[in-house]
């Protein structure tokens, strides 16, 4: 186990280095610069002053080495668009907000999604099946900006207690959490339904039934536990996506999270912030994947990490 984790850790470092390198050269090859604004062009000499201030006048290779050096100390540098916060400060401020929403959304999706899927499978081709599948089709196909706007227009505007947007209290988190949870909820439900149907036809379920175990016990102990495996393998990416925040949801609900930075940093060519959020996201993703693999191993004893060529 320790050896395995150590190996994974080394691989993680290599992966992150590759991500840094690719992102760095990719973003510098895109036209534009961090100081351009839509309404105003900047005279050349002032641009030179700005380039010098942020070290962008140095050769790319030197900038790259500098960046690697700083990142080894977890210093993401100064944002080129904000003169107020460093990239570290921006991430430290935005991530807890996004993660808070993300965790709530995961809880919602994880409680409702598999339940919905399991019910659909148990009542295959009956009304509960249709209802839960309609819900999940809506969840998968309605884009989050539509869902968000819909919730604001029809729920928040009519329920006084639910704010239209902003951040601060628990009630601010309710609508965005639901909007965020819809997509994974629907995916979980569909996945659960199909894997549950498959499991229900397995011999061991028939064996369990014929042994005279109650229906509830068969479902809970044998069927659900086996059917939930595909969802567990999806969890790693889903959790990291959700905790890293969603640009659309955060923009619509006016939430000061991390998700916004993924898009705005690229749009602004805020090089340090682009690198910062990319590397940070990569770290979260890699950690989550590792945790999921460990969880997988614990749930399913058939998977032996060290032996089967992993």
């Amino acid at each position: 186990m320790t050896k395995y984790i150590l190996k994974r850790f080394t691989m993680a470092i290599v992966t992150i280095w590759a991500i840094i390198t690719i992102t760095f050269f990719l973003m510098h090859s895109v036209p534009g610069n961090p100081f351009a604004t839509e309404s105003r062009k900047i005279p050349e000499n002032i641009m030179e002053n700005l380039m010098k201030k942020y070290g962008l006048d140095k050769p790319k290779s030197e900038q790259y080495m500098m960046y690697l050096k700083n990142i080894a100390r977890f210093d993401f540098g100064e944002s080129m668009k904000s003169n107020t916060e460093t990239v570290n400060e921006m991430i430290a401020r935005g991530f807890p907000v996004s993660a808070h929403l993300g965790v709530q959304a995961i809880l919602i999706a994880l409680i409702l999604g598999p339940a919905l899927g399991a019910i659909a499978a148990l009542y295959q081709n009956k009304t509960p099946d249709y209802i839960s599948m309609i819900i999940s089709i809506i969840g998968v196909s309605v884009p989050s900006f539509v869902m968000g706007s819909f919730l604001i227009q029809f729920v928040a505007r009519n329920v006084d207690w639910l704010p239209i947007g902003g951040w601060g209290e628990f009630r601010h988190t309710i609508l965005p959490s639901f909007a965020l949870a819809m997509m994974p909820l629907a995916q979980f439900a569909r996945l659960m339904r199909s894997s549950m149907l498959e499991v229900l036809n397995q011999d061991y379920i028939k064996t369990a039934k014929s042994k005279g175990i109650t229906r509830t016990a068969v479902i809970m102990k044998h069927a659900v536990r086996n059917a939930i495996l595909p969802i567990v393998s999806m969890l790693g990416t889903t959790i990291s996506n959700l905790v890293a925040g969603s640009f659309v949801i955060e923009k619509i609900f006016g939430i000061p999270g991390l998700g916004m930075f993924f898009t705005t940093s690229v749009f602004n060519r805020d090089y340090t912030l682009i690198m910062g959020v990319t590397v940070f996201y990569a770290m979260v993703l890699i950690t989550m994947m590792l945790l999921v693999d460990i969880a997988y191993m614990l749930i399913d004893p058939r998977i032996r990490l060290t032996k089967e060529g992993r």
């Binding site: 895109v30 036209p31 534009g32 100081f35 351009a36 604004t37 839509e38 309404s39 105003r40 900047i42 005279p43 000499n45 002032i46 002053n49 700005l50 010098k52 201030k53 668009k81 904000s82 003169n83 107020t84 916060e85 921006m90 935005g94 991530f95 807890p96 993660a99 808070h100 965790v103 995961i106 809880l107 994880l110 604001i152 928040a156 505007r157 239209i164 947007g165 902003g166 951040w167 601060g168 209290e169 628990f170 601010h172 988190t173 536990r225 939930i228 959790i239 905790v243 923009k251 619509i252 609900f253 006016g254 000061p256 916004m260 945790l291 460990i294 969880a295 614990l298 749930i299 004893p301």
Partner: protein, 546 residues
């Protein structure tokens, strides 16, 4: 085993909670709402997170809207929107219009220090220092020696800003500038407290160390969330300030902000979605104000591409555009069709509107357009067929409204001139890049004026201007601009600029489309919000009645 899974999941979530330090988010104080009932707090949205609240580092309205409430320059706008003395009690201008002497009033910083002429000298030189890398340093170039210092070719000592004593500031300009007084009300000209800024370079990052001299002070700045201003009781003109404070949310989404305004959470909303403006206008909603803005929306025509090098072709394109239709049916925000480049609202020597005196310099005339176009093409040895085969495109930065306008113009050119021009949208940075390298035929552009003088527009097409996208180069035009920039005689200046605009529209290097407006909505119980064309709506003197 199932228990193990649940345990594992819980560990996951707890871990995430721990990592993120996810405590109860209910740290909002409850008494804020109680205060709002007794105090007059204006609530609104600032649409974007300020990059910096240090005046020389500010870049746009998302910063200046805050700065204009917490700082005050030598001159300022009063409650009627008139330019009046601010930090300066009075001023003198030398005969040749080059030297300005400002005598400061007894005003205090929010930390109790007196505002001195040394603060101004320090601040302006700080804004010019190359290390500061102020985006907007060029607006200080009117001062003698300023450009040389900012570009690294001169020293701070050679910049002609001098504090003669604590209360007297002397400034010498490169050449007489009729609108210099107004510039001193602009945010890059705001003073910062010398002692504070020298001892703590990070003073502007935190409200606790933030020191300003305006009608309000910064008390809270929750990034990407909310900014809170409180009335500055030490402000010399505090009697004129009716509000006890201003709360500005930072919500980027126009529609969400609008929903909050409609739901009664905001007193004023500035960035109103286009579709909402159209609807409010159709219903004659009294909450809607169409503020005047000095800005022009236009298309650049690349003269390096044949046949756009021919003025007749460019004029034909302009004459084939039905601007009334565009403003009435597409933009729908009260925009004004543009038949010149200088927008209305700028006064000439006799106090008349510059735009009105000059009149329309282009028109919608399909027949004349067709005739000119054919002549122009013939002169370039091309046929309409050649033109259409060339695959010319109109380039614009990705946005729903630019797209609609471009589609309309495309159709107008097709029906009037029988030509096919494609549309291409790119991200604005890519557009800038392509304009710079000349890789375009026609491209969308816009300009918002910085000060109330036609020069803020006409200067753009001066051959040396950094903003001259079409690389317009006409020595006669340059001579007129040069004349307007150096003469002290108002009438002569204005005449030179009138001539310059006529000359420009005769060559038509750009096709003006419309003049911008700034629609904003104000609740009926709010009074005293004023709109000066070069500014965002001024909320400083607002009052809330019940």
């Amino acid at each position: 085993m199932r228990r193990k899974f649940i345990a594992m999941m819980s560990i996951f979530l707890v871990l995430v909670m721990l990592v993120t330090g996810c405590s109860s988010p209910a740290d909002e104080t409850g008494d804020e709402t109680d205060d709002a009932e007794t105090k007059k707090i204006l609530k609104t949205n600032n649409s974007s997170e300020p990059g910096s609240l240090d005046p020389p580092l500010a870049q746009g309205t998302h910063e200046s809207w805050i700065l204009e409430n917490v700082f005050e320059g030598l001159m300022t706008f009063d409650e009627k929107g008139e330019l009046v003395e601010g930090m300066a009690e009075k001023y003198e201008v030398s005969e040749d219009g080059l030297t300005y002497t400002f005598y400061l009033r007894d005003a205090k910083w929010t930390n109790g220090d007196p505002v001195t002429a040394h603060d101004f000298e320090y601040s302006w030189k700080r804004a010019l220092a190359p290390e500061t890398a102020a985006n907007y340093a060029s607006i200080l170039y009117y001062i003698k020696g300023a450009e040389a210092y900012n570009t690294g070719n001169g020293s701070a000592d050679d910049v002609a800003i001098k504090a003669l004593d604590d209360k007297t500031l002397e400034v010498t300009l490169e050449s007489p500038t009729a609108y210099f007084l107004e510039l001193t009300a602009f945010y890059t000209y705001f003073p910062v407290n010398k002692n504070v800024a020298e001892s703590n370079p990070d003073w502007a990052k935190d409200p606790s160390t933030y020191v300003s001299n305006g009608p309000f002070k910064l008390v809270e700045w929750k990034h990407n969330d909310q900014i809170v201003l409180e009335k500055n009781e030490n402000y010399y003109n505090a009697d004129k300030i009716k509000l006890d404070g201003i709360e500005l949310d930072i919500i980027e989404d126009q529609n969400t902000a609008w929903q909050k305004y409609e739901g009664g959470e905001y007193h004023i909303n500035v960035d109103v979605p286009t579709s909402v403006v159209a609807e409010l206008q159709a219903n004659n909603n009294p909450e809607l104000n169409i503020g005047l803005q000095v800005g022009t929306y236009y298309y650049n025509v690349n003269p390096a591409v044949k046949p756009f090098n021919n003025a007749k072709v460019r004029k034909a394109l302009s004459m084939a555009m039905d601007r009334e239709t565009i403003t009435k049916n597409i933009t729908q925000g009260g925009q004004i069709p543009a038949y010149g480049v200088v927008p209305p609202g700028l006064k000439d020597e006799s106090g008349k509107d510059f735009r009105e005196t000059v009149g329309s310099l282009t028109e919608y005339n399909p027949d004349e357009a067709k005739k000119l176009f054919e002549e122009g093409l013939k002169e370039e040895g091309m046929t309409v067929q050649d033109f259409n085969n060339a695959g010319f495109v109109l380039l614009y930065n990705t946005s729903e409204s630019h797209k609609k306008i471009a589609q309309a113009v495309q159709e107008m050119w097709r029906t009037t001139l029988g030509i096919e021009i494609g549309l291409e949208n790119v991200e604005f940075q890519v557009k800038l890049d392509r304009e710079q390298s000349g890789d375009y035929q026609i491209s969308r552009a816009g300009w918002i004026g910085d000060y109330m003088d036609p020069m803020t527009f006409l200067d753009l097409w001066w051959s040396d201007s950094a903003f001259n996208d079409v690389k317009y180069n006409n020595p006669e035009y340059d001579a007129l601009i040069q004349k307007a920039k150096t003469t002290t005689d108002q009438a002569e200046r204005m005449e030179a600029m009138r001539q310059a605009e006529k000359m420009l529209m005769e060559d038509m290097p750009v096709l003006p489309v419309y003049f911008y407006t700034q629609p904003y909505t104000v609740k009926p119980n709010v009074t005293g919000i004023i709109k000066v064309p070069v500014r965002y709506p001024i909320i400083t003197y607002a009052d809330i009645t019940d």
